[in-house]
Every structure is written in C-alpha cells, then in structure tokens.
Symmetry: C2
Subunit: 370 residues, 2 copies
Amino acid sequence: MSEVYAARRTRLRERCNAAGSAAALISRPANVRYLAGAAPQRAALLIGKREDLLVCTGPPDEKPTEGRPDEALPVHTLPGPGPAGDPAVAAADLAASQGADSLAVEEHHLTVARHRAIRSVAPRLRLADLGGAVEQLRVVKDEEEISCLRIGAEIADQALGELLESILVGRTERHLALELERRLVDHGADGPAFPTSVATGPNSGRRGHRPTDRRVEEGDFLSVCLGATYRGYRCEIGRTFVIGTSPADWQIELYDLVFAAQRAGREMLAPGSAYRDVDRAARQVLDSAGYAEGLPPLTGHGVGLEIDEDPQLAPAAMGKLDACVPVTVEPGVHLPGRGGVRIDDTLVVRPEADGGPELLTITTKELLAL
Amino acid sequence: MSEVYAARRTRLRERCNAAGSAAALISRPANVRYLAGAAPQRAALLIGKREDLLVCTGPPDEKPTEGRPDEALPVHTLPGPGPAGDPAVAAADLAASQGADSLAVEEHHLTVARHRAIRSVAPRLRLADLGGAVEQLRVVKDEEEISCLRIGAEIADQALGELLESILVGRTERHLALELERRLVDHGADGPAFPTSVATGPNSGRRGHRPTDRRVEEGDFLSVCLGATYRGYRCEIGRTFVIGTSPADWQIELYDLVFAAQRAGREMLAPGSAYRDVDRAARQVLDSAGYAEGLPPLTGHGVGLEIDEDPQLAPAAMGKLDACVPVTVEPGVHLPGRGGVRIDDTLVVRPEADGGPELLTITTKELLAL
C-alpha cells in the first residue's frame, strides 16, 4: 500500500510545484488520510520539496478501522497539546527551517486563528492557497478504494435486509435507526457512514431527517437512509417502503414517479456526462409532474473517505463524470403533512464497454409492503 | 426562555461595543445555540447594534432535542446552498447594509476562505476578532442549564447500571459500547454526548479509547466512559471494574491510587480554586506513586453544550473556578500491555455554604468485581 500513498503525494507535489509552491501543508483530516494512510487527531501532513512528514500530537493508532499510516512516511510526534502543539503550526515551522520559501495551505479548512499562528512562527514563508487540490485528486477512485465501497454497500444491504424481516409497526424512528447502526457494526462496518435516517408517515421522504420518537403506523411510508464505513470509505443507500398490506393509490403514484426520476439519473451515469445533465435528467421527471418546488438542491454527490464529496450533481455544477467516480443518485419528493419517497443508490461510473454504471447497493427498488 | 437568550445576547453586545465593534457575527454552532436557542446547520447569528438576526439555509427544525430558536429572534432564510448561500457571508452583508462599520468574527472558527468571502462582500466593514467571548460567557451555567446536565447524568448512570447487571464476559468492546448508546436513547437522551468508550484488558484506562473487537475476559479491568446529551447539554461519567470474582493485588493497588487522585481533585473544587491547583492535587497523588510519565495532559474540563469546554484543568491553565461551573475530574493511569484505571465524574462547583461540589454522576466508585 505504501507505494499508493507515495504516488498520491507525488501527484500533489507536482501540482504544487507547478503552481509555484515549494511545499504544501495538508490539514483536512480526509485529505491527510488519503495521502498518508491514516489521519490521527489534528495531524498535519507536510509535503516537502523532496521529503514528506506526518506531524501528530500523539502516537498514531494502529487499528485497521482507522487506517495505518504509510510506513515509509516519517512521523514527528509533538510533546504536548495546546496551541503550541498544533501540528499544522509545527509543520509550517519545519518547512521554513528546511528552507522552503513558500507553502500552500488548505484555506478552506484552516481557521483564521491557525493561519495567523502559522504566519507568526514562519513569517518569512509565503503562504498560498492549495484550494481543493487534494479533493480533486480524490474524485477518481482506484480499484482498492472501490472495493472498500463495495464491501460497505454489501454491509448496508445486509443491515437493511434484516430490518425488513423484523416487525416494524409500533417501533420508533430512533429505535429503528439505532438497530440499523448496530447491525452495520455486527456485519463488520467501522461504524455508520453518517447518522442513520429513519422517517415515518409525514416525515418520510425528507432528506437528512433525524429520527424522532414517532412510531411506525399502518399505512405509513417508511423511508430509510443508511450507510457503512469500511476502512474509512463511506457508502449510502436509501429506500422507501409502505407499512401494511396494500399501498394507497397516491403512494403508488408518487413511488413510481420518484423511481422513474432515479432511473433517469442512473441512466445518465457515463464517462463524459456533465454533472448538471445527470441532475437535470432526474429533476425533469419530477418537474414535469408538478413537483418543481421543494426539490432538494442536488440529485446526488460523490462518496469516498467522506460521505459528501465532489462532484455535486446539481443544476449549477460544472464538470463531467469520469470512469471510476462513485456517486449517489438520490432524488426524492416530500409532501408537507403527508410524507414522501426517496430512493438512493451508490453507483460507480464505468464505460459502457465495461457494462455501464456499477450498482453497489443492490437492495430491491420494488415498492415493498411490509 | 426567550428572555434568557435575549439577556445572553445583550451581555455579548455590551462586550463587543466595549471592545469597539458595532456588531458581531457568531458562526460556531455551540455558540449560536447558546445565544439563539438552536443552531440549524451552518446557521450564523448576527448581533447587531440594536437588532439581532439568525441567518439559516433552510427553515429551522422545531424538534425539542435540537432546541427551538428564540421566537423573539428574526430569522432570515437564504434561498439556496453553495458558497453564495453561506449564512456567515450573508449576515456580514446584512450588517454592512445596516450601516455597521465594524464586525467582530470568530477567527478560531471561521476558515480563511470564508473570512475572505466576508471581506469581499463587505469590503468597507472592518473585521475584528471576537475571540472566545461567547465561550467565556458559557463557562458559568444557570440553574436551567445545570438541570439539563443533571438529567443527562441520571440517564448515563441508569444506562451504566443496567449494563453492569448483564453478562459481560465474551462480549466485544464495540458491542458493549453500542448497547450503552442504545440504553442512553432508551432513557430519553438526545443521543450519546461523545463516542462511548469501552476498554478491556490491556486497553483499559486509556483516555478516549475507541472500542475494538476485543472480548471481555476473566481477570480484565473494564473501563467505560459514556455520557448523555439532554437538550443539547453533555455530561460524562467513567468507571473501571474488574471482571471475575476477585481482583489481583496490582489491580486493587492501582485502583486505590487512581481513586485517591480523583478524590483529591474533587476536594479542590470550590469557587476561587485555581484550575491548575485542581489538576495538581490529582496529579501529585499519581506522580508521587511513580506514574509521572504518560499521564494525560489534563485532569478535567468544563462540560455544557460541548463535551470539552473551558475551563481546562491542566498544569499550565490560567484562571480560577466560579460557582456553577460544571467540570469533570477524570484522572487515570494506563500501563502499556497491562491496562489501567480511569475514574471520571461530572460535578458542579458550589460554595461550601451550599454543601460544596455537587456530584452529578452518582454511580458507585467502589471497585466492583463483575
């Protein structure tokens, strides 16, 4: 694995040097993990002219679930905590003492106060903005990363499948969410990829709904959104069910509509498709049925070391999909007071020659009555 | 409740004006919640010369567990997401258009990128640093806040008590942690106050240990640290037990020592005690028994809307305790390869006339053999 991390750092170093910075300071945890194999708390990674260095406040944990730091990477452990023990500041100090004259930092992650502390320990260092350079490198995944996502999706499918076999009526959203999270861990997840969402009745179909004490009732829509973290990689699945023997007509109609929108989005996933076209394909189906208002601002997003990464599949997004980019497709409609439907898959963009988009979350999308 | 929030904002406004800023922009979520009653995602609070304003990206949730925004506070909802929809930037824009010439911002929370965006929408606004002004206001709690902490502590005591009655040998750290978190919610917590730590055998006694798949064995030390969030307020309790019928001599000795250190710390809790003296009282007991090395950097910390707030009870901390400040006292010793002991309580500083420190976490601190 060590070569993988070294290769990623080399790509970043080349970008930095091309942009005129001798060195780069990575502080955003997911970016540190991507480049170093692990992200101990508050660690910072220095990408030097020749040598790189991981600066930590304590010995890195060696648990497989949290990643292992690349063995080829020197680690510098600070003696104590507190502002004097800020790894980002210490790393900048080291960069200056190694003769770097410029340092690119993550201005979208560093606070103004930490940035000022860096300037004060290394006043001669010219600070530049690295921007989202590491986030950009992270968009296209290698097969090892995709395999972690695939295993995470299998775990989420299993947890969801088991829930569907249990009795649901009378249980609260909060209990169902906790049970799903326990099942994720039972099946080998590091933990949930994000707070599990269980929404019943009038809450169903709301994006990011946080579980309440409402109990499942006959006739409810039940929408569930969950994901597993596996070796740091986070996937997502969302499904909507009906509680009771037969769904009402409005429920079948709404479900079919959201399903059609989600399929339209999935069918647009191909290398070269514009992000906004994927969004438009799904959005158009809902728009033309009269649900233009109240739609969520995006149809999907990238997943990886974070659950919400680039790209954003949204009306104003710029850019085109590449092969090996994992994304969600998750349109939904929520009718205030009545509830709604969301259907959410994680897929990997693949060329048509390879069979088209690879669906990672394989739980059925038929409307099940539970 | 509305008057409470209004009074807090008035105190902050006075501090700001005294420091020469006409207005203040609060972006750190716990600070927004403290001053506005709730902290919708990415919301920002503008403390104006006369009027205050909460800026959100969507309608605030109205769930009791997440707080309700003060009804007397005007809410401005932004139309869309994205950088144009950053509530902090929009609030600064509003401050400028209302004629403010200076704005104090939370430089320890705002990123460099967001700070720049504020400068660019409101170039004539003089930006100052609010520093930890709101965090300072939050240190001393009112009785309503303490009552939330007291209920949270009762919930944590209940969850821990039930765990102790179940069979533990053979179960993994991760499962025990998940079960504790489920019990917290069962008893009415909003959720865990922080990731529950369960540490067995050689892991026991490690501060912030993240649960692994190690199973509880006969003869182990088992150390558990958990807390409940109740109406936003977070408490903490930690205990260490022995698994099996009779603890080994080294276990009894180590336990008695940590217990003595923890008691020494608790006994120093009084209005006017220096933070560092509380730390020293506990630390000295462990030091003089030969455990100076490897001790955690602090003996305790404040709790409230965040689990780790001011004050820090640490060797270099400056300041003195006031009445109505809730803190943890949590010394511990971890012997690499063997395990260790941590004992952690949440207490509220009270004058001696009121009976001295109020212990919120009342689970026994005898060494129980389970």
